[in-house]
């Protein structure tokens, strides 16, 4: 028979050893081995891109000398620490940029998702885009929708086309939102890589109010979220759970980028949306959904692969917010709507 003392002693030792192990290892990150759901073939497709064009000639050589020695915007940051410009009203001269980009004969693509009840926003989005978005350029609107028939005819200017893209409607609005990355990367691989030079991925429930021109073109373009451009990084709503693939620890982060506006050259957009889709799949396999769905994954990606150009909150405004003095011109902002009514 084993004496009571021995039993008690061994139990205590067991407890101490367990506590020791928990203390040393337990607080560390638990790494889940992600497994990927069956991947569509697009991930192995080698893309043939239309010829890349750099800013070369400024045929309209002569214009009045700008007063360049006086910095125009002194109240806001206009260059990031990795020397990417932040586009605010007053930082650029539209004429110079027009004379650079116009001769390149570019085609700009726009993706927007109008699924379920969101089809009601299509008309206003397109009408305002016809008035303000890349005027004078060739534009392809790729409208991802589950009911292509419901998109009533909107009059488009010459050189601009509307391409409805049928997609599946998912059960929850979060799922619809996150599947955007997959849909965009698949569409780029299959169709748009041969049709456009630059692609912007925008939310449909928004309206253009002022000019959106070639100052926004760049290799990898992200927009700063209007609610978080004046707060320190500790308050950014990054995904903070370490088990997610979108995890950003405290103390890291440059800006909080909005998921409603991003874009860039077609090849960079493909790489970026593909990478985000993979991280979303990894989270799905681990049964976790990031705090702000694909916006969290977008922020995670842009932390490690910094954008080459940032758009100020003028390009992604929320009309419910009061306009601060830093925002001189609102170009693209949300429509006031009843979220509960339109999200299933």
């Amino acid at each position: 028979m084993i004496s009571k003392k021995v039993v008690m002693g061994s139990l205590v030792c067991l407890g101490v050893v367990t506590a020791f192990i928990w203390a040393t290892i337990g607080n560390r990150k638990v790494h889940y081995l992600p497994y990927y759901l069956p991947c569509p073939e697009i991930f192995s497709i080698k893309l043939q891109y239309t010829e890349e064009k750099l800013i070369q000639l400024f045929p309209q050589l002569f214009y009045q000398q700008p007063r360049v020695l006086a910095p125009k915007r002194q109240d806001v940051l206009t260059v990031t620490p990795w020397l990417a410009p932040i586009v605010w009203e007053g930082t650029f001269n539209p004429e110079i940029l027009e004379s650079a980009y116009r001769p390149l004969n570019l085609t700009i693509g726009v993706t927007a998702f109008a699924v379920g009840k969101y089809t009601r926003f299509v008309r206003r989005f397109l009408e305002s885009a016809e008035q303000h978005f890349m005027r004078g350029y060739q534009v392809n609107y790729y409208l991802f929708t589950d009911s292509p028939g419901s998109i009533s005819g909107v009059q488009l200017q010459s050189g601009r086309t509307l391409v409805p893209v049928p997609i599946q409607k998912y059960s929850s609005w979060q799922e619809i939102s996150m599947r955007r990355m997959e849909a965009i990367s698949r569409h780029v691989a299959e169709v748009s890589h041969a049709e456009v030079h630059y692609l912007f991925c925008l939310d449909i429930d928004m309206v253009f109010h002022n000019s959106w021109g070639p100052e926004t073109l760049g290799d990898m373009v992200a927009a700063i979220h209007p609610g978080y451009f004046q707060v320190p990084r500790e308050q950014f709503p990054y995904e903070r759970r370490s088990s997610s693939a979108a995890f950003i620890p405290q103390g890291e982060g440059d800006f909080y980028y909005g998921g409603a506006v991003f874009g860039g050259s077609i090849s960079k957009v493909y790489e970026f949306t593909k990478a985000c889709h993979m991280t979303i799949l990894a989270d799905k396999a681990n049964g976790i959904m990031a705090a702000w769905q694909e916006e969290s994954h977008l922020n995670r990606h842009f932390l490690s692969h910094k954008p080459s150009k940032l758009l100020s909150p003028e390009y992604i405004w929320d009309d419910r917010k009061p306009k601060p003095p830093e925002i001189h011109l609102i170009r693209f902002s949300t429509l006031n709507k009843n979220y509960r009514e339109i999200r299933d």
Partner: protein
């Protein structure tokens, strides 16, 4: 933060350990410093209601736990910013992006962005750590082209020694030294990732007068050699000396340096060629900045176009019998008005030593060396 040794802050034994100890002993009614607790455990164990052996065991466990806490701090990670290795990082930390609003500009006294959205690189506008991290991922090789003909060979040693130390430190660089006196080059100790390639150009029938053919020579060699060896190429005057690090912030498609004269009251001294007969002419009232020909560069493709255009302009002028006001520099400026640089370097990156620097210049990274009978 205290001293950092192997990345860990040197901290006294954390109080949390003693908090735990208080929970475990329970009966201990101990206040005060760790010293008195240790004393009590060792020598007044009977008074505390535990045997001496138990007291010793408690101390040993505490000591081991303390050692574990020391090596694996479990508290949430504090900001482990890399310690500033040079003065430039202090400017960064003063207005750190995460302290106040991230939207405050870092330099308000100077323009940091051109009207065509090209950044202008000043001290305090960039983080070299972030740029280095981006650069090393791309496995790039950068080249530097410089000419040392006739009397200019006296500048080689000073330039190469300073460039070896300060130019893209830690990254692979090929220095292409064009010279007509290869035997006069002193022996130079190069850093492991830097290479010096001497290219003799005397007696080349293509270029009877080397001093007027720099652009021609560069474009010919880009076509034949450099495009296969480097990704980015920079042209620097040999009569310069680097005084502070010049890093990967200069790497971009087409990069030009604003002339130091531009910031002084005598900026009209260095200005564009205005005579319409010259190919380098820029009409009155037009043009953005005046760029110096002592430091410019970019991707190999862009530099090839630039040197070709400039050498054609120089040739056309020579046939007409015209010499542009500032020679190659005028043609360079004409090209750059029409093909806007994608990045500008502030006059910190090449400061003409004859001038006194205004306060906007916080650091002079490269200075001209006084010309002693260089021609």
């Amino acid at each position: 933060m205290g001293d950092t040794q192997e990345g860990f802050a040197v901290l006294p034994l954390p109080q949390q350990v003693w908090g735990e100890k208080r929970k475990r002993t329970g009966a201990a009614q101990v206040r005060g410093l760790e010293g008195s607790l240790v004393y009590n455990l060792l020598f007044n164990a009977d008074k505390m209601g535990i045997s001496k052996l138990q007291g010793l065991a408690i101390l040993m466990t505490a000591g081991i736990s303390g050692a574990i806490w020391y090596h694996y701090p479990f508290s949430s990670a504090k900001d482990e910013e890399p310690t500033a290795s040079s003065e430039e990082d202090t400017a960064l930390r003063k207005s750190d992006l995460n302290e106040a609003s991230p939207m405050l500009p870092w330099r308000q006294d100077v323009p940091v962005l051109t009207p065509w959205l090209a950044p202008i690189v000043w001290e305090g506008t960039f983080s070299r750590d972030i740029l280095n991290a981006q650069y090393v991922q791309r496995n790039l090789v950068t080249g530097v082209v410089t000419f040392a003909v006739e009397k200019c060979v006296q500048f080689i040693e000073g330039f190469m020694r300073s460039a070896n130390q300060y130019f893209l430190a830690g990254h692979p660089v090929n220095f292409y030294l064009f010279t007509d006196n290869p035997e006069k080059i002193p022996p130079l100790q190069m850093a492991p990732e830097k290479r010096l390639l001497v290219i003799p150009v005397q007696n080349d029938p293509r270029w009877p007068d080397i001093s007027t053919s720099h652009m021609d020579i560069i474009s010919a060699y880009i076509h034949s050699h450099f495009q296969h060896e480097v990704d980015y190429l920079y042209s620097i005057d040999i009569n310069s000396q680097l005084l502070a690090p010049i890093g990967v912030e200069i790497i971009d498609a087409l990069v030009a340096t604003i002339s130091s004269w531009h910031l002084t009251p005598w900026y009209r001294h260095k200005s564009y060629e205005r005579r319409p007969a010259s190919r380098a002419a820029i009409p009155e009232g037009h043009g953005d900045f005046y760029y110096t020909a002592s430091f410019y560069g970019g991707s190999v493709a862009e530099l090839y176009k630039l040197t070709r255009a400039c050498s054609e302009g120089l040739r056309a002028d020579r046939e007409k019998g015209i010499e542009a006001r500032w020679h190659e520099e005028s043609h360079l400026n004409r090209y750059l008005v029409q093909h806007k640089p994608t990045r500008l370097l502030s006059p910190e990156y090449y400061w003409d030593a004859e001038l006194s620097a205004p306060r906007a210049i916080r650091v002079k990274r490269m200075c001209s060396v006084h010309r002693e009978s260089s021609r």
